[in-house]
């Protein structure tokens, strides 16, 4: 299991390969990369700053992986999340899951992203032509998370 919060960029291919390289029990690896778009909710975005809660962030991401591992039969998982100042097209987050079968790997990866979006203490501030503003949480993200509660 890997959890990292960092300012520097990450090599998604290398990180994903660590979940299966030389392992003969992995049949499926599902990964998600989140990136900065230059358009968010209709605003042109020229820059993004990510703040987080050191200490809680790592615990929260570890807890999300543990919940996924308790719920699905997966072998390994990783979350890498960047903080600091980012530009459009920059990578923000990598979530990846390895397991024997694809159905569980897909579910676990999407679950982890939905939980990260609603529980992990990160906050985005956007720079737009109208100035800086904090990004508002989306009810769609809450709805995405609710799907897993049953």
């Amino acid at each position: 299991m890997t959890v990292r919060v960092q300012t520097e960029d990450f090599d998604a291919g290398f990180e994903i390969s660590r979940l299966h390289k030389n392992r003969k029990d992995i049949g499926a690896v599902v990964s998600f990369i989140g990136l900065v778009r230059d358009l968010n909710d209709g605003d042109a975005v020229s820059q993004l700053t990510l703040e987080h809660y050191p200490g809680m962030t790592e615990k929260s991401l570890t807890s999300i992986i543990n919940q996924a591992m308790a719920r699905w039969s997966i072998k390994d998982a990783l979350i890498i999340h960047r903080v600091g100042t980012l530009q459009p097209s920059d990578q923000i987050v990598l979530v990846a899951v390895s397991g024997a079968h694809r159905g569980e790997a897909f579910a676990a990866c999407e679950f982890m992203m939905d939980y990260l979006k609603t529980e992990a203490p990160f906050w985005k501030k956007e720079v737009t032509p109208q100035g800086e503003h904090w990004v508002e949480a989306k009810s769609a993200d809450d709805a995405a998370r609710e799907r897993w509660i049953k």
Binding site: Y53, W123, A137
Partner: protein
């Protein structure tokens, strides 16, 4: 009892506080009671903690709701709904 409070994102920026150590009377304390207490500091504190904005709270790095109990030595944090990922 003594607690430590952290503020993040819009709260930190508007309240101009990122962290503080607070001495509270030794009586049962919850997130809601603490917010009400802090809200008395000024209009802007009231708006930030008891106004229209959604505020989420954590105790010792765990997300909690308004009814969660706060104990001596706890690290409490207030912040807006998260927007990472």
């Amino acid at each position: 009892m003594k607690i430590k409070i952290f503020y993040f994102a819009r709260l930190k920026e508007t309240l101009k506080y990122s962290t503080e150590d607070l001495e509270l009377p030794d009586e049962p304390m919850t997130i809601l009671k603490l917010k009400a207490l802090l809200a008395k500091r000024s209009d802007v504190w009231g708006q930030m903690l008891m106004g229209k904005l959604k505020v989420r709270a954590a105790i010792n790095h765990e997300l909690v709701d308004d009814h969660a109990a706060i104990n001596h030595g706890d690290e409490v944090a207030f912040f807006p709904p998260v927007t990472g990922g």
